[in-house]
Amino acid sequence: MIHFHNRFGEALLVPEQSYMMHGDTITINRFKYYVSHFELTNEQGKKITLPVQYYLIDAADSVSGNITLNIPIGKYRWIHFLLGVDSLRNVSGVQSGALDPLHGMFWTWNSGYIMAKLEGTATSSQIAGKQFTYHIGGFRGNNNTARSITLPLSVPDNKALIIADAKKWFEGSYPLMISKEPVCHSPGTLAVSIANNYANMFSILSQQK
């Protein structure tokens, strides 16, 4: 059993709630992302690959963060998963379930999934409605924005709490400034830079029984 716990910095991420960041007041309206391709490495270093299943995590729906995986009993050291949608699913027509295009995570005019989405308003935004909208996608070659994630499981347990910190989108190798780049809606360099940032948004919360 895995639970994705969405945060902004240290605070719980609640849609429509405001947060401070570098003197800027930020309100998050939407925070959604795909996770899939779960794998686990046990104490002996053996990797267990689970059947491919896609999950759409939505900060507005805390139940969406609960994922039950059928794992053989054992002690696991690492958890691996993909943030986003693999290239095959981007070219295989209309999918169902979590990948159904009606979830607003698919570009219909230039085929491809939005791997992750962060939308809101910020006092520093220079565009209409003080908005910022980051729809990060792209699956081809260097424009790929899906990211492989590996996290250590410090205490072997059958429960893992994974923190997803939306603030990390603005930190990391690319210092994203809402005042300068309030919008990203297409595959390309900016999307890849943001993806490199969000690749580091996950961490494991010390497990509780």
């Binding site: 209309v94 009606l102 219909t108």
Partner: protein, 240 residues
Amino acid sequence: MKYRKTIGVIVVICLICISWVTGSQYFKPTPVKLMVPKGWPKPVYDFKSNPLTKEGIELGRQLFYDTRLSKDGTISCGTCHQQFGAFNTYDHSLSHGYNNSLTTRNAPGLFNLAWQKEFMWDGGINHLDLQPLAPITAENEMAESIQNVLSKLQAEKEYRRLFKAAFGDEKVTTEKLTKAISQFVLTFVSSNSKYDRVKLGVDTFILPVDSSFYRNNSSLNFSFGVDQSSVFLGLSFKSF
């Protein structure tokens, strides 16, 4: 004791039969095979993922001409993709969309889609099944949300029947909706026109050049030829 066992076995067999009849195994749509015209390459569309059936094509046709796929119920796929124009609109420079809006392009003709890898004028769409989602949701085309389309169709008894006939159950989903539309448009194959037949050498163009009209109008002469080597068809008008 023995009888009880026999009765038990009979009951179990009956239950299996009932579940077989009511279950999905009973669902048997009529398969349709897409004719690949002589000399044409193999289609690129994956028919295994969406086998053509009479019921699927029929549902697709219904959807293609249904204006309820648009926000205000005025525009269907067929509004711009008009059959008499090879499924385009040749008298418009730009297609007309929702609420008196104009699009930035004209609807392309639809034919031989099973052999096409990319869709829209810019090739932005990489799979035929995905194609209807763009015009349905574009603000200057049909301006509707996918969810609303599904809800509107689900509410119709006739559509529940058609979806069940085509896909085995009444639930209207994005995947079924788009696959049905694909099935219908995949049947638009432009083979076996007179031009195709002449190219294959099984027909000829007999023009009325010997008719009295042309003989009596010496100022006008039509010359017409089929160049077999380059499969180039030329029609030239010469005035003497």
